[in-house]
């Protein structure tokens, strides 16, 4: 699967789950796994860090 920002190949581990964040090793863009059905993975833009994020 290609990075939507820079077209580099994304490394998505086999055991990655829906909701996990995948970072592009080339440009640093973050994507969230929206759907996963076997090896078919759908990504969406990950949320950016919010003011209320944290413990």
């Amino acid at each position: 699967m290609k990075c939507q920002e820079c077209d580099a190949t994304l490394n998505i581990p086999d055991d990655a789950s829906v909701g996990e964040i995948i970072s592009c090793s080339d440009c640093g863009a973050d994507f969230e796994i929206a759907k996963k059905n076997g090896s078919v993975v759908e990504l969406k833009q990950a949320e950016t860090v919010g003011e209320d994020w944290g413990e």
Binding site: V18, G19, E20, I21, E32, E51, D52, W53, G54, E55
Partner: protein, 285 residues
């Protein structure tokens, strides 16, 4: 066999650890993404699969708090409870509760306009630490060492003027070693603790690069942690303690959706396992 539901908005190592431990204990685990869950005023518990108990683990404080409110509306058992999350998420509410329940905590000054905050700080004197009432990972926490710094910060707050910018939370600077102590309490019992050593500045947040080092839970740490947990309403909490060279231990923060990846690396206890076990005990009560 029981079923535990982990509500998340960003699946982090901690949530995966909780899922794994639930499965290892022979239970079922449901992972529920808060971002895609739709609830309305007619919603019932049976419309969803929230299992026997929910662990609310959203990284966004407001999302988690409001989701918890919906869960309690549907009578779904959830940790932490809404009231606990609400108190812990606001530093001013938290400090007031700690003080009310006689938990040693740094002296803190509250003002409700920049003008009043300036007057307050001139009376008290420098330095003071200013903290946003809502926020984590040490963001926006800074030492005000002189009038120029304070004036500049207050002016910025007047310009940005978000609702919480009008609340000024100013705290005494504690004379302490360059570290603090993070204790995880489960059901008011401290189960693991670590020192968080500053990586240069005065902040000791792991999120900012502080080094975790195992801390033995002494009688004093046990007592103050249990007292702080009870004051906030219990559940699963992260108690932050400083070692004041004059007064001994003081609690400066109690965290709601506690992060434990760093502490898990050094602790002898299986933290996610104990969280899952506690959640299931909590719902059986």
């Amino acid at each position: 066999m029981s079923k535990i539901c982990i509500v998340f908005d960003r699946l982090r190592t901690e949530e995966k650890m909780l899922e794994k431990e639930a499965l290892n204990l022979g239970h079922q685990a449901v992972m529920q993404d808060a971002k895609i869950t739709q609830i309305n005023t007619d919603s019932k518990k049976d419309d969803f699969d929230f299992g026997d108990v929910v662990l609310e683990r959203c990284v966004s404080y407001f999302r988690g708090l409001h989701f918890t409110s919906c869960l309690e509306f549907m009578d779904v058992p959830v940790l932490n409870k809404f009231q606990v999350a609400n108190l812990c998420g606001n530093k001013m509410f938290m400090t007031l509760i700690l003080k009310k329940y006689n938990v040693p905590t740094p002296k803190t000054y509250f003002s409700f306009s920049s003008e009043s905050a300036s007057e307050n700080i001139e009376k008290v004197g420098y330095p003071l630490v200013i903290k946003p009432v809502i926020g984590s990972w040490g963001r926006g926490v800074m030492q005000l060492k002189d009038k120029d710094t304070a004036d500049a910060l207050f002016e910025i707050r007047d310009i940005t003027d978000s609702p919480h910018d009008r609340i000024f939370y100013l705290q005494e600077v504690i004379n302490r070693p360059p570290r603090d102590i993070r204790v995880i309490t489960i059901g008011d019992e401290p189960i693991a603790a670590m020192y968080r050593k500053s990586s240069g500045g005065f902040k000791t947040n792991i999120a900012l690069g502080a080094d975790p080092e195992l801390c033995e839970i002494t009688k004093e740490i046990e007592e103050i942690s249990t007292k702080a947990s009870k004051a906030m309403g219990g559940g699963i909490l992260g108690i932050d303690i400083m070692e004041d060279q004059k007064r001994g231990l003081v609690v400066h923060e109690v965290n709601n959706t506690v992060e434990f990846k760093g502490l898990s690396k050094v602790s002898r206890r299986n933290i996610p396992k104990e969280m899952v076990e506690y959640a299931l005990r909590y719902v059986r009560k």
